[in-house]
């Protein structure tokens, strides 16, 4: 069995090293004459953190030594000054901590002794010989000339030699030190009657020579920058796709020579293994973050006066390193919720015929390319009323995660069950996963986070809309149906699937994409997003594919995509965030057909003059068009990019910022909207201006000075084709 802590040690190795670096720099500065007043806090903070992290990975010996250092620094902080004599023992301790995280054994007791001496000296500065004064030259020579073991032995073997009296308190008086197991260090525990050697003053050189003489720690792993791993995975993904292209280009397998077909097959298998192992390099078991959780649950339970047992199942289930790193927070939140709001007080439990102590389980189960992380409790669950409401309104996850919802029965200072669930839900969605909640009133609750095994690879269902191809995580697609004819419920498009009406929306509208009307028999993806089901309409299905998800980068971070993928045929498929598909439920629903969009065509008027804007609006609206207005070219572009329903643009030539020509050129330069009709209206009206307008790509050019309402409407009608 492997030690699950190894991974976490790897993870905090860097942090501890950095903190030790900082501490040593501070100690050396103090030794060099710096009064150290400004550094005490940072020393204290660093060693405190080291203590905490060491405790988390069960390196109790480290935690103990760090604790002793912390105690000393606490006194130093009280005193407000740093006696230079403390530098040596503290450096000795940081050196040993460093050696420990690099795999060496740590001489806990001698270190504690030394620190205890330091602490005593600090408290009674005049009762011992001046702390920090180098010991006699003989002792120092002796110390540097031999290993730590021999040196201690030498001193211990000569009861007359110590210049510093037997130190008090004993290690047992240091908080936390009693529980420490003495590691094998090659030194027999000091027998009774033998004076324990004060290990100090050991100059730093002796510490380092001692460490250096120990065997080189065994290298158990290689540290690799995750960026390099991503790059490797990228390249493998490219090769996999090249392979697919070759296979595609070669035609049906049956027509290939047997040898070629066999080679292709084995090549594909090898690539698959290569990809698997590259993905595995990015994954870690849940155990890597589960270590501190039992303690956390215990603390939560104590805080609210409940008795809770906690178990972890499937701790060896692997997850993407990035996901795992970000999982601790939502997980802690769910556990806290389960303790505070799920598990009932013991008396209530007994009345309900349950064991007095509640049970919470954290469970990880691998489901293909997804991992299910479940926090299950045997507490009170949701009320029957909430369960009913969830049935009527969609899902429990959605209901409980809606902002401010609380199932806490009574007003208390504690947040309700649902508080913070919205954050957990958006976390799951941001990772390309989902949140589900199951609960039986009175019996308990299961909160399920569905997360992708690896962020880089994703099983998606690809579909076409217009000229574009999109993909949604397969995890959110329930089924796909062909839509024979559209129906509406309450004026909204809807689809009846297995006898149940579902809201339906054109994916182009959901995304704000520009696309021709849907085909007459469109396909509908029945997706379960945010716990609800809805039909997302597209032109055609492309199929299921495991794709390499590439990030779109910071410029497109807010556009609502998980990323994009390069398909076997070279096209780019955008992968919308599942949550974006769900938003259409309320604000982007549109009819399945007809060929023409419903209602009158929408015309965008870009004009900086308020009067002219309102004049044009009233002319157009009187003629039955919908009108949207913009005050300059930039605003117009923003509206066009966000509203796929804009059927035509009427723009002033002169506007601040982006003018009519710039606007026209921008529209013509945008492949998605290049065909949008543009009419330029201007007071200039010279032939030269007109030429410029036409060159920029305007469909028509009208002068304000002979502005004619009928001519405008005729032009609009001609261009919109109505």
């Amino acid at each position: 069995m492997t030690d699950p802590d190894i991974e976490l040690r790897e993870a905090f190795h860097e942090d501890v090293t950095h903190r030790l670096d900082e501490m040593e720099a501070a100690l050396l500065a103090i030794e060099a004459g710096d009064p150290g007043t400004g550094m005490i806090d940072s020393l204290f903070r660093n060693v405190h953190t080291i203590k905490g992290t060491a405790g988390m990975v069960n390196m109790t010996d480290m935690a103990t030594v760090a604790h002793a250092v912390e105690d000393i620094l606490a006194v130093v902080r009280e005193e407000g000054k740093f006696p230079p004599g403390l530098v040596d023992p503290l450096l000795h301790a940081t050196g040993a901590l460093r050696a420990r995280i690099n795999g060496a054994e740590m001489p806990v007791d001698p270190l504690l002794d030394e620190l205890a001496v330091g602490l005593t000296a600090l408290r009674q500065p005049r009762s011992v010989s001046p702390v920090g004064e180098p010991a006699g030259p003989a002792a120092r020579t002796g110390a540097t000339g031999v290993t730590g073991v021999a040196e201690t032995g030498t001193v211990a073997g000569n009861p007359d030699s110590p210049q510093i009296p037997r130190s008090q308190p004993s290690p047992e008086q240091l908080p936390g030190s009693g529980a420490v197991e003495i590691p094998a260090w090659g030194l027999p525990a000091p027998g009774p009657g033998l004076p324990i050697a004060p290990v100090r003053p050991l100059p730093p050189s002796a510490v380092s020579s001692g460490t250096g003489s120990s065997p080189v720690p065994e290298q158990r792993s290689v540290r690799v920058d995750p960026v390099k791993l991503d790059h490797l995975l990228d390249l493998i993904g490219e090769v996999v796709q090249d392979g697919r292209r070759i296979t595609h280009a070669l035609g049906p397998e049956a027509d290939l020579p047997e040898e070629l077909s066999a080679t292709l097959g084995s090549g594909a298998r090898t690539l698959e293994q290569l990809r698997e192992s590259a993905i595995r390099m990015r994954t870690l078991p849940l155990a890597a973050i589960a270590g501190p959780l039992p303690r956390a649950v215990r603390d939560f339970a104590r805080a609210v006066g409940k008795d809770v047992t906690f178990t972890v199942a499937g701790a060896d289930t692997e997850l993407d390193r990035l996901i795992l790193e970000s999982l601790a927070e939502p997980l802690t939140h769910l556990l806290r919720n389960a303790v505070a709001h799920g598990i009932e007080p013991a008396a209530d439990r007994e009345r309900a015929g349950k064991t007095p102590s509640g049970h919470i389980e954290l469970r990880a189960v691998s489901r293909g390319s997804l991992v299910e992380i479940v926090v299950a409790d045997d507490g009170r669950g949701v009320s029957a009323e909430v369960a009913d409401r969830a049935l009527r309104e969609g899902s429990l996850a959605d209901l409980l995660a809606s902002a401010g919802y609380s199932t806490a029965g009574q007003v208390s200072h504690l947040s309700g069950r649902g508080v913070g669930l919205d954050a957990v839900k958006s976390y799951a969605h941001s990772m390309g996963g989902a949140l589900e909640i199951r609960s039986q009133p009175g019996r308990g609750m299961e909160v399920i986070l569905l997360l992708p095994l690896a962020l880089a690879m994703m099983n998606v269902l690809l579909f076409e809309r217009g000229e574009a191809v999109f993909g949604v995580p397969l995890a959110v697609v329930d089924e796909v149906v062909e839509v024979p004819r559209p129906t509406t419920v309450g004026g909204r498009p809807s689809l009846t699937v297995r006898g149940r009406p579902l809201p339906a929306a054109d994916v182009a509208l959901l995304l704000g994409a520009h696309a021709p009307p849907l085909r007459t028999r469109p396909h509908a993806l029945i997706v379960a997003v945010l716990g609800r089901r809805m039909a997302v309409l597209c032109d055609a299905l492309v199929g299921e594919e495991e794709v390499l998800v590439k990030p779109l980068g910071p410029l497109l971070a807010g556009a609502g995509y998980l990323g994009a993928a390069v398909l076997g045929d070279g096209r780019i498929a955008l992968l919308p965030e599942p949550a974006v598909l769900a938003r259409g439920r309320y604000d982007a629903v549109a009819p399945v057909e007809p060929v023409h969009p419903p209602g009158p065509p929408k015309i965008l008027v870009a004009e900086d003059s308020y009067t002219v804007r309102q004049l044009q609006r009233s002319i157009l609206e009187t003629a039955g068009y919908q009108v949207v207005t913009a005050r300059d070219g930039r605003e117009a572009l923003r509206i066009i990019s966000q509203d796929a329903g804009i059927a035509m643009v009427i723009s002033d030539l002169e506007m601040p910022g982006l003018d009519g020509l710039g606007l026209t050129r921008a529209i013509r330069g945008d492949p998605a909207r290049a065909a949008l009709p543009v009419v330029i209206v201007t007071s200039l009206g010279s032939e030269e201006d007109q030429r410029k307008g036409i060159e920029a790509g305007a469909d028509a050019y009208m002068a304000k000075h002979n502005f004619d309402q009928q001519a405008l409407l005729a032009t609009v009608e001609r261009l919109i084709g109505r």
């Binding site: 990228d234 390249l235 490219e238 574009a468 182009a508 995304l511 704000g512 994409a513 520009h514 590439k550 990030p551 779109l552 980068g553 910071p554 410029l555 497109l556 971070a557 807010g558 556009a559 609502g560 995509y561 990323g563 994009a564 390069v566 070279g570 096209r571 780019i572 955008l574 974006v580 930039r634 572009l637 923003r638 066009i640 990019s641 966000q642 796929a644 910022g657 982006l658 003018d659 020509l661 710039g662 050129r665 921008a666 013509r668 330069g669 945008d670 492949p671 998605a672 410029k692 060159e695 920029a696």
Partner: protein
């Protein structure tokens, strides 16, 4: 002062410090990204990566009425973020010295006069920063 790529954007003369420029490539196949900023024309594949393509004339607020020549892309990288900028063509690559005059645009480091024409020095990191801010 340094080495610059001199180029034409909507028939106007500009320069980009060569340090930001990875390559000049053809326009390629653009995939529009619905819901993105108007300044972003779409994304395209480039060396195994997916790179956003920015409408540079629009960013620079160019309104000159010259016909749009065949576009090329200037592929730039700043702090690991790659982006393509639409340009007309590259005029030359070479050293430029002399003082930069302040420019009114947020997206220019300044302007200088070269060979009798006004040359705007494009602030590539500034453009990317501002688009990233607006797009998130």
């Amino acid at each position: 002062m340094g080495t610059y790529v001199r180029l034409k954007v909507a028939a106007e003369a500009y320069a980009v410090p060569v340090g930001h420029v990875l390559a000049i490539v053809g326009p390629g196949d653009l995939t529009p990204v619905p819901g993105s900023l108007p300044e972003i024309l779409g994304v395209r594949k480039l060396r195994g990566q997916i790179v956003p393509v920015i409408n540079l004339p629009l960013v620079l607020g160019l309104t000159a009425a010259a016909p749009q020549p065949q576009r090329q892309l200037l592929l730039a990288e700043v702090d690991g973020v790659k982006a393509g900028f639409t340009i007309d063509e590259v005029s030359s690559v070479g050293d430029l010295d002399g003082p930069l005059e302040g420019a009114e645009s947020d997206f220019l480091l300044g302007v200088m006069v070269r060979d009798g024409e006004l040359l705007g020095v494009i602030d590539v990191p500034g453009i990317l920063r501002s688009l990233a801010r607006a797009g998130s």
